[in-house]
Symmetry: C2
Subunit: 96 residues, 2 copies
């Protein structure tokens, strides 16, 4: 299982609305092939940021299957307008 970290910077003052949208949109990630689980958490040092951590079966489950699916389009339609800049995404190998 690989790990994705995505850091979102949200337009100032919109965190509560973003959380409501995320609650509606998370299913588009969770129901995607290879998604084991996810955690979304708000930044302590930078309250306009959130980290989304997703455990995927394979890298391609995220970068190919999800990204090319209607789940991705639907997810971005729900949350994309909250992003003040493009998400910062990294992937990490199996646990050491």
């Amino acid at each position: 299982m690989i790990l994705e970290t995505a850091v979102f910077t949200i337009h100032a003052g919109q965190a509560e609305q973003f959380l409501e949208a995320f609650a509606r949109g998370r299913k588009f990630i969770e129901q995607s092939k290879g998604c084991h689980r996810l955690e979304l958490r708000r930044g302590i040092e930078e309250p306009d940021t959130f980290v989304l951590v997703v455990w995927w079966q394979t890298l391609e489950d995220h970068t190919v299957t999800f990204k090319q699916s209607s789940n991705f389009t639907d997810w971005r339609a729900v949350v994309g307008h909250f992003f003040a800049r493009p998400p910062v995404v990294h992937h990490y190998l199996e646990e050491a």
Copy 2:
């Protein structure tokens, strides 16, 4: 429970040695008060980076109790010389 993410950039070519050192040093974090669990994973896009994700009971368990303890000194003595630059550390609130 809060989340810590720490991104380590390791001197080029030392990833295997770092992993061996980490295996010896992880107990200093794991045995610290309030540490629930941790994951260390190597970067896919940037193989000289690693992310350490730690689930702590409280922020202070990391920033005060651990940082002021001999566990922190012992941890850094084992792994610190592998770091090509200071770790990039963020903390995140309870899961949304």
